[in-house]
């Protein structure tokens, strides 16, 4: 739902680095996005194309690596990956407790870009 402001932020950061590195054209941007973000790859690309038109990043492909949503047990630190199917009634596979900390799934990171 909020792809537009997120894509604007990605474009701003990418263009800043493009200027720093004397880039003529950005071909691809490699992202790491947490699975809890609720962003959709197709809409990310569409909004990015709309915002980047006429810039050095126009036409750049977004390659998205999705970081899994992972909980860590508060008692024994065992990690368990969650999804919308197994979240209900989830307990630690090691100690059976159900108090967790979220340790992955909120990522919003630009790793690098392929440019000339």
């Amino acid at each position: 739902m909020h792809e537009l402001p997120v894509m604007q932020s990605i474009l701003t950061i990418v263009l800043k680095h493009a200027v720093m590195h004397n880039v003529k054209k950005v071909h691809a941007i490699n992202l790491l996005v947490g699975k809890l973000s609720d962003l959709e790859a197709e809409w990310m690309q569409r909004y990015f194309d709309y915002l980047s038109a006429g810039t050095m990043a126009a036409g750049a492909r977004l390659n998205i690596e999705w970081a899994p949503a992972v909980l860590s047990c508060e008692v024994c630190q065992t990690r368990v990956e969650i999804n919308k199917v197994n979240l209900d009634g989830i307990t630690c596979p090691a100690c059976a407790k159900n108090k967790f900390q979220l340790v992955s799934g909120k990522e919003y990171h630009i790793k690098n870009m392929e440019a000339e």
Partner: protein, 227 residues
């Protein structure tokens, strides 16, 4: 055609908003102002809760309210009618508030006479969870008619909040909502969250909510004095 290079970026996408939010938190702390970010679905009772909170706390704290709406001023008018300064922030289609929008809204309040500002965020359980507003504490309302399965559908929102108000408990007898199941689902994602059951209609639980908020404001002040 020149060679394609791999250029390292390694930046967080929402860094700008996070920095703005941290700056705002520092600024408000220096001035002794407590900012509360209130989130929920549309219709869960944000405005009703704010009106109840005003009734309970307006003699203890000088308050202000920031009302975010995509395009209306209805909520701000209700708050202003309760005698509290209210600023309407029209997000113009945006699904959430970010720190920059909150800063602009705060500029329209006379902060020299305010101790507590409540942000009524846009009604939405998805986007507001991802954008730091600069608030000291995040609160959310889940109303009974929405169902006890919402933590499974919007885990991030339940994860980022410090307090959950389960509102409209006067509807409990009319639905299959299980309070026990809800508590379990929420605590799995956020073991330390405070959960307070309320009804803005009957007034049930409003005293507990007001006590929680007053205590957090006090703690925030003490932290400031001890620095």
């Amino acid at each position: 055609m020149s060679e394609i290079r791999l250029i390292e970026i390694k930046e967080e996408i929402l860094t700008d908003n996070k920095e703005e939010a941290d700056n705002l938190r520092r600024k408000l702390k220096d001035r002794g102002i407590f900012l509360l970010n209130l989130m929920s679905s549309p219709g869960a009772g944000k405005t009703s809760l704010i009106l109840r909170t005003i009734e309970q706390l307006k003699t203890k704290f000088r308050m202000g309210v920031l009302e975010a709406d995509i395009d209306s001023t209805v909520d701000a008018e209700k708050v202003a009618a309760a005698g509290i300064p209210a600023v309407q922030i029209r997000t113009g289609g945006f699904c959430h508030l970010d720190a920059g929008m909150v800063m602009k809204g705060l500029d329209a309040l006379d902060l020299s006479v305010i101790e507590l500002v409540i942000i009524e965020n846009v009604g939405n359980l998805v986007c507001p969870a991802e954008f730091d507003t600069g608030a000291v504490k995040n609160a959310m309302i889940l109303s009974v008619p929405e169902g006890d399965d919402k933590p499974l559908k919007y885990p991030l929102m339940f994860n980022v909040c410090d307090v959950l108000l389960v509102n409209k408990i006067d509807y409990l007898g009319l639905s299959d909502f299980s309070m026990k199941t809800l508590h379990e689902r929420v605590r799995t994602l956020n073991p330390r969250i405070a959960i307070i059951e309320t009804s803005c209609k009957t007034g049930a639980g409003i005293d507990m909510w007001s006590a929680w908020l007053a205590e957090e404001i006090k703690k925030n002040r003490n932290r400031r004095e001890h620095q």
